[in-house]
Amino acid sequence: MSEIVFELNGEQTKLAVSPTRRVIDVLREDLKLTGSKEGCGTGECGACSVLVDGQLRLACLMVAGQLDGHRLTTVEGLGESPLGAKVQTAFAQAGAVQCGYCTPGMEIAAVDLLSRQPDPSRDEVRAALSGNLCRCTGYVKIIDAVCQAADVLNASEDAQS
């Protein structure tokens, strides 16, 4: 056990945990933040995607020690940011959600993309989501959702400027 200190969804968090415990287990079992899912445990499905310092990471391939001193955002905290909230709304409204198990990871990947590229083409969206597997949707409406979120985002920024 060692103590790690990190920012979790905007809150300073102190945790006594084995530094080699997987982040996905810390989140789901220790902190009861079960929004992040595990679909493979080997980094292939993307269901456990989280943001570390705003960058896309896989919680099944990270250990707790790597969080120390960093900023972690999970799907539970995603709605706190205007971008994350817009992505979540777009996913719900565009019909991007079916079983919903890949959805949190998909949204995290979408936020990662839109924070780097606020006006992506559909091909750019496809590439950005290619590390996240979905078995229900065929991706069409997920891509629609990301493009919709980008449109809403750009429209609100236009309105502000």
């Binding site: 287990d25 789901r28 079992e29 009861k32 079960t34 929004g35 992040s36 899912k37 595990e38 679909g39 493979c40 445990g41 080997t42 292939e44 499905c45 269901a47 999970t74 799907v75 539970e76 995603l78 709605g79 979540q88 709304t89 996913f91 719900a92 409204q93 019909g95 991007a96 959600v97 079916q98 079983c99 919903g100 198990y101 890949c102 959805t103 949190p104 949204e107 559909r122 969206v125 496809r126 590439a127 989501l129 290619s130 590390g131 996240n132 597997l133 979905c134 078995r135 229900c136 949707t137 065929g138 991706y139 069409v140 409406k141 997920i142 891509i143």
Partner: protein, 775 residues
């Protein structure tokens, strides 16, 4: 009436309402079975020595648990001797042990169950259980398994044939004798994994009084109760199953996965909760999968293109245990003549035990195998006859009142001809020649079609019924007590929409409670394209009853004696003439608890026996079918053999549409899973050992692998369905493999008979074609 800010709109069937579950899922709040981590939870896991020792068939000699039991954190290790009941599970045939006591019949058979304090202790302990096996010769090829003297998978059976049946119409195979043209082909289809992202899992707890409460990722909570009771010698009322939303199912969670093992673990956990989660490797080894199939066809027609006769032979490999193997075969046979009129039919089917992993239910079970072959035969026939492939299909397409290949007279809702007409008028079809001509250098383009159909419902001899419950809560909200799991297809949201429509309530006033055997009523499994059809019909009955009752009781409060003058609107009942009203919250307080709920029952129609089948047990034939016509435009890289599907159009006859977005979701998903089946998915085994243990070796399509998929709903109505709908969850799965294979034949003149259509196979076929033409 002008809309004011206070107005709310009632949910409406046919409208694009946002799925009721979408927001919670998008915010990561929807609880799945895997998300339950009760305090003090123990972990359970199975010991599956066959995979570890590379053996698919073996006598179990001894299990040495001493080293594992001595490991700190290990609570208990159970073997077959600890199973209290019959130790047998299975939906139709009870042939699958919970824990194997005598012999392993496939590499994933479990021989022991370990319960531990932590996942880490569990993992280590499983590795420390020493299992002595005496390897037996394994039979892993279904044709070899049918040979005289073949090794028997089940010692107590005379042979490995699980089921054999035939369908005969007209003159049967002799009809081919007087055809002008006969085409023939032999095909094989791969094993496909469901690939749901939430693997098989659950959590269970046994109370001091012996009652079990289990939260399971399951498509059939009520049947699970029966399976567990039978296998472990318990009574039904001891077992409560809660079935939250599933992280995907596709048939793979229909039937016992973790259920009996987990219940057994709970019985030995001294009242502590116990959790079991299969990893991806265990899912690919011990989870169910799609049957591989060998298919032989002969199809005959007259010179003018009229289909005359078909003869086909199907061999399905069910693996070590039956699951629904016989029913999978039956459904495939029922669809083996395609959605066409063919007067002379002989369809022979066999379903065979082998020492391969267990095949079971998967979206469009049995059907997508035969559709690949049949639609390739139709395309070949069109080439032989020099008839346009769309015109040939249209000419022979089933029309209402026609007899299908199983001898069933199809009803008014038979829209295959309309689906084909919509393809015929679509730009993707009309502009195909120019598109093909514009193929970039080094590529070849092709356009392929498939006409598909898929039965809905359980089929003959299985009661397909549902009991829906709708409740007005004490504070004036409505709750639908769903009894058929939502594995992602959106049936629960459809139920909210149906209830809101009948009860004239808005989205905020209607919610759904997911299945719980303690509060809902047996309504069958979430499967077979019957979920919304059957439960939806029952729900309409329940909602109409409740609506009538509420209006009647409101009349008492409002001093109105004519119920027809009262209207149920969002949140209240109003008497328009006098402008008097009572809120539902107030009305709820006026009712006794039992008055606030209504049950509705429904039994789906059964097909009268057409007298065409022989050897079927249950599930043949059906009476409601969804139809579809699919078009794939592909580009083949001639140097790599890689197929890129550029455009995909799926026209679907699903009767009336309850929710257009959800309709498209089902079609997109079926096409996506079908394109995976067409292009890359092959859960191969060697000597009964699964070669893939993860998603890097079992590939399913990612966002870069799939095209934009266009879904078009063909107008129609199935009068027996709720609001005229019929289930479309499965039909779209059937199109992609034949459509892509036919596009490949169209573009490159190669005719692949073995799926999936991998780059290697395409390249080899291109090379042999080049050799042939240079000779």
């Amino acid at each position: 009436m002008t809309k004011t800010t206070n107005d709310v709109n009632a949910l409406a069937v046919g409208a694009n309402e946002t799925r009721a579950d979408a927001k919670a899922k998008a915010q990561g709040r929807e609880p799945y079975a895997a998300d339950y981590y009760p305090d003090g939870v123990l972990w359970a896991g199975a010991v599956r020595p066959g995979a570890r020792q590379g053996v698919a068939h073996a006598r179990l000699l001894a299990i040495d648990t001493a080293a594992a039991a001595a490991l700190p954190g290990v609570v208990k290790i159970l073997t077959a001797a600890d199973v209290p009941g019959t130790n047998r599970q299975g939906i139709v045939h009870k042939d699958m042990p919970v824990l194997v006591g005598d012999k392993l019949r496939y590499a994933g058979d479990p021989v022991a169950l370990v319960i531990a304090e932590s996942r880490e202790a569990l993992r280590q302990a499983i590795g420390l259980v020493v299992v002595s096996l005496e390897p037996l010769p394994a039979v892993c090829d279904p044709v070899a398994a049918m040979a005289e003297g073949a090794v028997r998978v089940h010692d107590e059976r005379a042979d490995n044939l699980l089921a054999a049946a035939e369908i005969r119409l007209g003159e049967g195979a002799q009809g081919l004798d007087h055809c002008d043209v006969v085409v023939a082909g032999s095909f094989s289809t791969p094993v496909q994994a469901h690939g749901f992202i939430e693997t098989e899992n659950g959590v269970a707890c046994c109370a001091p009084d012996g009652s079990l409460t289990m939260t399971i990722s399951t498509q059939a909570p009520f049947r699970d109760r029966m399976e567990i009771a039978h296998a472990l010698g318990l009574s039904f009322d001891q077992i409560r199953i809660v079935a939250p939303c599933l992280g995907g199912g596709f048939g793979g969670k229909d039937g016992a996965t973790v259920q009996c093992l987990l219940a057994l673990a709970a019985l030995h956990s001294d009242g502590r909760p116990v959790k079991m989660v299969w990893g991806r490797e265990e899912n690919l080894l011990a989870g169910y999968r799609r049957h591989s199939c060998r298919v032989d066809y002969r199809l005959g027609a007259n010179r003018d293109g009229t289909l005359e006769a078909v003869h086909c032979r199907l061999v399905y490999d069910t693996g070590a245990y039956a699951h629904l193997g016989g029913e999978v075969m039956a459904l495939g046979m029922e669809h083996a003549g395609g959605p066409y009129r063919i007067p002379h039919v002989l369809i022979e089917g066999q379903c065979v035990y082998t020492n391969n992993p267990v095949a079971g239910a998967m979206r469009a079970f049995g059907v997508c195998q035969v559709t690949f072959a049949f639609e390739a035969m139709i395309a070949e026939l069109a080439r032989e006859l020099g008839i346009d492939p769309l015109a040939l299909r249209r000419q022979n397409a089933l029309l209402p009142g026609d007899t299908n290949c199983a001898g069933v007279v199809v009803g008014e809702s038979t829209g295959i001809a309309d689906c084909l007409d919509l393809i015929a008028g679509h730009p993707l079809w009309l502009e195909r020649a120019a598109w093909k001509d514009a193929a970039p250098p080094g590529t070849q383009r092709g356009v392929g079609l498939a006409a598909v159909f898929n039965a809905a419902g359980y089929g003959a001899k299985v009661r397909d019924s549902a009991i829906a419950k709708v409740e007005l809560t004490g504070d004036g909200q409505f709750v639908v007590h769903n009894a058929v799991s939502d594995m992602g297809q959106g049936n629960a949201a459809a139920f909210v929409q149906i209830a809101g429509h009948v009860l004239q309530q808005d989205a905020a006033r209607v919610s759904v409670r997911q299945p719980d055997t303690a509060t809902a009523y047996p309504s069958g499994s979430s499967s077979a394209g019957r979920t919304t059809f059957t439960f939806g019909n029952a729900l309409i009955v329940a909602c109409e009853q409740l609506k009538a009752r509420l209006i009647n009781r409101a009349g008492l409060l409002l001093f109105v004696d004519d119920d027809s003058t009262l209207t149920l609107v969002p949140g209240k009942i109003v008497h328009q003439a006098s402008a008097r009203e009572v809120s539902l919250a107030r009305l709820a307080g006026f009712l006794r608890d039992e008055e606030r709920s209504c049950l509705g029952e429904y039994v789906a129609p059964l097909c009268p026996d057409p007298g065409t089948g022989k050897g079927f047990f249950i599930g043949f034939p059906h009476v409601v079918f969804a139809y579809g016509a699919h078009l794939a435009r592909i580009e083949v890289d001639l140097s790599t053999g890689q197929i890129r599907v550029v455009d995909y159009l799926a026209v679907t006859d699903g009767g009336q549409v309850i929710n257009p977005a959800m309709y498209d979701q089902q079609v997109h998903g079926g096409v996506a899973q079908g394109l995976g089946y067409a292009l890359m998915e092959d859960l191969a085994t060697r000597d009964g050992q699964v070669l893939a243990g993860d998603f890097s070796r079992y590939l399913i399509p990612g966002a870069l692998d799939l095209p934009e998929i266009t879904s078009v709903a063909c107008p129609g109505e199935e009068s027996r369905g709720p609001f005229g709908m019929k289930g479309i969850g499965e039909v779209a799965m059937n199109g992609p493999l034949p459509a892509v294979a036919n596009a490949l034949a169209d573009g490159c003149a190669i005719h692949l008979r073995d799926a999936p259509l991998t780059p290697e196979r395409v390249l080899l076929a291109l090379e042999s074609l080049a050799e042939e033409s240079s000779q």
